[in-house]
Symmetry: C2
Subunit: 426 residues, 2 copies
């Protein structure tokens, strides 16, 4: 772990830089997969499962029997945990439900902003070594609260054509309409264009590898919205002398285990703290199994030391972390000066793991500096806001001179005429 002491402003941009992903080599491949699914539908999905994943699927949709089997396989402990986490996630997201806005902007002119659910949403859950069923909770629960009619889920299977029991259990618990055994770029294509089995959706959510991310970007430019741009996970910890360095080190390691491209950065108020964190990281990493990921990830982790608190905060604002842990004496005071992060964890007893699973906040968050312009997934992500206006004859009469003057100045005479024809009449 490199330690940087009071780096100059000019150095900040490079210290905030994330690993760049070069997707140009896989772009053609992803484009070809998407086109194949668009044209050949289910046939392409079954063929790609065999070609890419080496799986012979007898059916794309998960059956009732499979759901029932999953229910039996999931431990009582995990079921209980899902109940607690779901309760917290639902409570926090329910409180975010937007209200209808109704304003009479002037006599006879009424404007409304009406929140409406997106009708059809698609969730993608990666397969791989660990079944990320927590992401099912984070996406399906708000979708249901928002009122989405159809919530479908695509996920790859293991070599035996099975979906992880926890994913199926969580999907049913959270009101997912149906689950399909489709992974990778082909899953994104299936949900964007629809096949005989997989329905076309309006918006696609969820994490994935580079193929999935690139396919999401591709369809976002065509016909289907996506949740947000995706990149490797990251955490920043702000630590002063009130921080417990054992906790800071544990948080950095929990980020590092996500993958070799994860980034963990600690911003300290003194060199002594930075060194203590480093020593603790070394000590604790020996206790972990995912050692190779952790080692690669820690290779690009950093400690930055600033003498002045305002520099610590300004640096955090520039970095725009996906997860920002504030372990400082005046933690709430510091948080009130922070505007740019996906999710913030206040004080010594709020680890990132809490938000990853169960505090109630969403763990689908903007990475790679996208927190400068994007929110994490929240109830709005599953809704649209439609505007509505109603003018009375008197309302349009009063507003007519304004509309006509502006339309004529913009050279749009038919816009003016559409008002005049109503005034003459009324």
């Amino acid at each position: 772990m490199n330690i940087y002491l009071n780096p100059e402003r000019g150095q900040w941009a490079s210290l905030c830089r994330r690993a760049e992903q070069d997707n140009s080599l896989i772009a053609e491949r992803v484009e070809a997969i998407v086109e194949r699914v668009k044209e050949q539908g289910d046939d392409a999905l079954l063929a790609l499962a065999a070609e890419i994943d080496g799986v012979q699927l007898s059916a794309l949709e998960v059956s009732d029997e499979e759901f029932m089997l999953a229910e039996q396989q999931v431990s009582a402990e995990v079921k209980a945990a899902i109940e607690v986490a779901s309760g917290n996630i639902e409570a926090f997201h329910r409180a975010q439900l937007p209200r209808e806005v109704r304003v009479q902007t002037q006599a006879g002119v009424e404007c409304l902003q009406r929140p409406v659910p997106i009708r059809r949403v698609g969730l993608y859950i990666p397969g791989g070594t660990a079944p990320l069923f927590s992401t099912v909770l984070m996406l399906a629960l708000p979708a249901r609260l928002a009122g989405c009619e159809q919530v479908v889920l695509c996920t790859p299977t293991n070599k035996q054509g099975q979906v992880a029991a926890e994913v199926l259990y969580a999907a049913r618990r959270c009101g997912v309409t149906s689950v399909y055994k489709v992974g990778g770029a082909q899953a994104i294509a299936a949900m964007a264009y629809g096949t005989a089995t997989v329905p076309k959706v309006d918006k696609i959510f969820g994490p994935g590898n580079r193929y999935v991310t690139l396919a999401k970007q591709l369809v976002a430019g065509r016909n289907t919205s996506i949740d947000m741009p995706a990149g490797p996970s990251e955490v920043m910890v702000l630590a002063d002398e009130s921080a417990d360095v054992r906790f800071v080190a544990a948080d950095m390691l929990s980020q590092a285990e996500h993958g070799s491209d994860s980034q963990a950065i600690v911003v300290c108020s003194s060199r002594a703290i930075a060194e203590a964190v480093e020593a603790e990281v070394e000590r604790q990493r020996g206790l972990l199994a995912r050692a190779e990921y952790v080692a690669e990830s820690l290779a690009h982790s950093r400690a930055i030391v600033f003498d002045r608190e305002e520099d610590m905060i300004a640096f955090a604002e520039e970095y725009a972390a996906e997860h920002l842990i504030v372990s400082m004496k005046d933690a709430w005071g510091v948080v009130d000066r922070i505007t740019t992060a996906g999710s913030v964890f206040v004080g010594n007893y709020s680890p990132e793991s809490a938000g990853d699973y169960a505090s109630g906040t969403n763990h689908t968050l903007p990475t790679s500096g996208w927190a400068h312009s994007c929110s994490g997934v929240n109830i709005d992500s599953f809704m649209r806001k439609m505007t509505i206006q109603h003018l009375t004859p008197k309302g349009i009469e009063a507003l007519a001179p304004t509309i006509v003057a502006m339309a004529e100045a913009e050279g749009l005479e038919a816009h003016a005429a559409a008002v005049r024809v109503r005034i003459e009449k009324s």
Copy 2:
């Protein structure tokens, strides 16, 4: 205008189809412009103004003298109109300002959702035959209400290197920080990467031609958010026997004058209404000057007749119009069954022009069916929602079994360890 009587469901998709834009031919050109601006900054902007627009610019930034001159040039009538429109737009958007959400999800676990303004936003205003100063109001006023620190605007000049007076006047009136004489894809690149003169922004808003749209899509996949995918403007009118066909025809023509690729569709409860609308369109179009645009646009306008009201509504839902005018007897009753449109205009006296300029609603709206998943520009478009959580020692203790069970089931042991280390301590 083609008239379709009770088309079968299977035909709806083709009747809802928009003109496809093939941008593959200009993609390389746009990519080259973006790269050139990214590498050469201001030099590229000045050179491209000369090469593409044939303009020799002495400075990229609009000067105070130019703003003062603009103030003198804009008529009192237009100034008064801008005041009225601004008042309504501000009133409606101010009412949308989100509140902070704060929930104790369980004892010792507090979650917040905090709305924060996007710090730096960039607005693009097209040049061309008519100065679209109304779009300045629609973008800059909500940006200011949201609290954005920096609001910059790029717009191309005329051959003499001048920006339309109305655009400059509106920009200053609405709190735009600075205006730059840059148009096309190069403006988008300048705001996405920053140059010595034009600052880098976090999110780019505003309409434009295909070069602008493609450049926005390009940077959206890299480092800068954009307002929404863009396409040609469109209107759908739902008309029953209570509709005044003169108004319906005027609304369709006001859409048609936007450009040859605009689309106007009327959905009628009887063939007689469709024919009456057609006759009125023919009569009124003779009175308009922009005849060529209107003729081309009308060539792909359509009248669809449905005997049943539920089919009229279902068809409107599938089309997902940017602008939807409901001229029906039970207009509010119908609107309450509509969920998919950018902006809705209720009854005979609510023309699209009202929303385009002055009712208070925003006129930057989802086209080409994007209303299925996107909102028009609103106060949220200029904000992010950051989440914050705080756990007390007792809070993390109570939540620990849940987090540990889920982390272990996902195979993430360091996530579990970050909780355990805090429990042992407390």
